[in-house]
């Protein structure tokens, strides 16, 4: 998977712009944008993780918000019990998401097609209801939480440091995904998407491969949840609502399915659009709903997919 020169330049410019955001907006006295861009980058990680199984693996998981919620509740619940060590919280967020993804994946991957969509959806709804019924941890009112504590030099109370931490995680997740997609494992997953029966015929235990991809994807989304709880200093079952799953899916579509950088572009496009249009009217979904239908009907490649492709396949 190689990038065209155009896309390489766009990525480099995008990265430089992101690095420059905190000093630039502070100079302009618009620090609100630090929070907004942080939020966008978190959802970019979530969308990227979904694209690993959706775009590359062809598994239409409509329950990705589950791991966003699990990651954030790892922070919230541990902080509630006064365990604010960031490393431990991150470990629990990733580990918890991995375990739940293993269970959900093991059940859902026994099926395919429409069943898979409906069951991933229902399983996430199950977690949503558990979140609501956990009265100790705020129930449906949610739970205010403190930011994670790392060593003294990473003080997350500072918005700049949190911003760069999130950016760092985004770059890391993109790197991991890039390595993964181009590895032998990634080839098998993409092969399953193309033609699962053939992959089985040449001897790959596709169920196990797909399950592992599902778990990796869930864990990565758990990281996004961990960061989201730190950014909002609040966890709520709303993070797991199935509308979140839908929105993450929209980001993947808008950016371009089955590309590595598309979901990141999609997260920016979708959340910026939401930010701008909701400034004009609070009823913006009335406009966005039909727009989404039109996007699906006529512009399926997404923003990133519209850019020219290199011959060797594309990032």
């Amino acid at each position: 998977m190689e990038l065209t020169r155009l896309k390489g330049w766009l990525l480099a410019i995008g990265f430089v712009v992101l690095v420059a955001v905190p000093p630039a907006v502070t100079a302009m006295d618009e620090t609100f944008y630090i929070t907004l861009i942080s939020r966008i980058m978190i959802f970019a990680i979530a969308a990227l993780s979904l694209d690993l199984i959706l775009g590359f693996g062809g598994m239409i998981s409509f329950g990705h918000a589950a791991y966003l919620g699990l990651g954030s509740y790892a922070v919230g619940i541990l902080a509630f019990h006064e365990i604010t060590n960031g490393w431990l919280q991150l470990f629990v967020a990733i580990g918890g998401s991995a375990v739940v993804a293993l269970i959900i994946g093991a059940i859902c991957l026994r099926t395919s097609g429409i069943y898979f969509i409906m069951i991933t959806l229902a399983m996430t709804q199950l977690l949503f209801f558990i979140g609501i019924s956990l009265e100790t941890y705020g129930g449906d009112d949610g739970l205010p939480t403190d930011r994670s504590e790392f060593a003294a030099f990473i003080d997350l109370g500072n918005e700049w440091i949190l911003f760069y931490l999130i950016l760092g995680f985004l770059v890391l997740c993109m790197y991991i995904s890039w390595r993964l997609i181009n590895s032998r494992f990634g080839m098998v997953i993409r092969g399953c998407h193309e033609n699962e029966a053939r992959m089985q015929a040449i001897g790959f235990p596709t169920y196990r491969y797909k399950l592992l991809a599902f778990v990796i994807s869930g864990s990565m989304c758990g990281i996004a949840g961990f960061l989201l709880a730190n950014l909002t200093e609040f966890v709520t079952p709303e993070f797991m609502h199935w509308f979140r799953s839908g929105e993450i899916m929209i980001m993947v579509l808008v950016g371009g399915m089955g590309t590595l950088f598309g979901p990141v572009v999609g997260a920016f496009a979708f959340l910026m659009f939401e930010e701008i249009i909701s400034g004009f009217t609070e009823n913006w979904p009335v406009i966005f709903g039909p727009l989404l239908v039109l996007l699906v009907l006529f512009a399926k490649q997404g923003v990133w997919g519209l850019l020219p492709k290199s011959k060797a396949g594309d990032g």
Partner: protein, 307 residues
């Protein structure tokens, strides 16, 4: 925990189940025969409830509202089918999911624009306002019995339609092998629109029946949609009989579980644990049931698709 309470809750559960059947019957046909994921079914249910509330406000009659619900929900369904779903039949499920998700966003926000954010009033029809004593000293609202009656009537009508008519034969054939009936020269386009319109009508009817007992507001269909999915997964995609059985099972589990499980747990565990775990477990119950059914029967209890 008295026997009377258990009986009453079971009856509530059956009523809720029958009500779920009204929603999932149409959806299971759409999913099974058209092989299309339709998230907008919950929105059709919501629109049914809004239409019902408006028609009752205009005419003051539940029966006339019912007569008006038939054309309005069918037309709405057909318009949706022609504009958004028809071009997507041959695309993958992801596209159908996103397009119908767009429809949900549109309708959920649209009703706020048209009817405002407050829940809409919907009186219980006068004929059914009273209570009856099915069990001694336990008055039960007539309207809830009426819902059970309507649900069973719909089940009978669907059974007749599917098992005894020509179009029903085509629907059954479509559910078991879509490719084949297309090859046999059946106008699948018309059949699809017919099935979708039928599904929209049942969703609208469910909206009408639900309006007096649950609050008519934006997003009321979202949770129902998930429950309908659970019903369909358990019953088997495309199987109306499966939908009926699964609806009643889910309805009883959901209602009885939610009311009884916390009480039952208090008798086994200390109060503190029971109060935390009880409600959580009760809300998990139907999903655990679904996972269990899938584990043993990945195609659901009554698989319709054989080929």
């Amino acid at each position: 925990m008295s026997t009377l309470l258990v009986l009453e809750q079971t009856l509530n559960g059956i009523q809720f189940g029958v009500f779920l059947f009204l929603i999932s019957a149409g959806l299971t046909l759409v999913l099974g025969i058209m092989n299309v994921v339709n998230l907008a079914h919950g929105a059709l249910f919501m629109m049914g409830a809004y239409f019902a509330s408006t028609f009752v406000a205009w005419t003051g009659s539940f029966f006339i509202a019912f007569l008006l619900i038939i054309p309005s929900s069918v037309i709405l369904g057909i318009v949706i089918e022609m504009l958004t779903l028809r071009p997507l039949y041959l695309r993958d499920h992801m596209d159908q999911v996103l397009a119908t998700f767009g429809l949900i966003l549109f309708f959920n926000e649209g009703v706020k624009l048209v009817w405002g954010v407050d829940p809409q009033p919907m009186p219980t029809p006068e004929l059914f306002t009273g209570n009856v004593e099915i069990f001694p000293d336990a008055p039960y609202p007539v309207f809830r019995l009426f819902i059970i009656g309507v649900g069973l009537l719909v089940a009978a009508v669907i059974y007749f339609l599917i098992a005894r008519t020509k179009v029903g034969m085509l629907i059954r054939a479509g559910a078991s092998n879509t490719q084949m009936i297309r090859a046999m020269g059946v106008n699948i386009r018309f059949l699809n629109t017919f099935v979708f319109g039928l599904g929209a009508f049942f969703a609208g009817l469910a909206g009408l029946m639900a309006a007096p007992i649950i609050s008519v507001e934006s997003g009321m269909g979202d949770e129902m949609l998930i429950l309908a999915f659970v019903v369909i997964v358990i019953g088997g995609i495309g199987s109306v009989r499966g939908a009926l059985v699964a609806s009643v099972i889910i309805g009883v589990f959901e209602v009885v579980g939610r009311s009884m499980l916390p009480i039952a747990m208090q008798q086994i565990f200390p109060l503190e644990i029971a109060q935390t775990v009880g409600p959580a477990l009760a809300s998990m119950l139907i999903y655990i049931l679904m996972a269990g059914v899938l584990f043993f029967k990945p195609q659901g209890l009554f698989p319709a698709r054989t080929g």
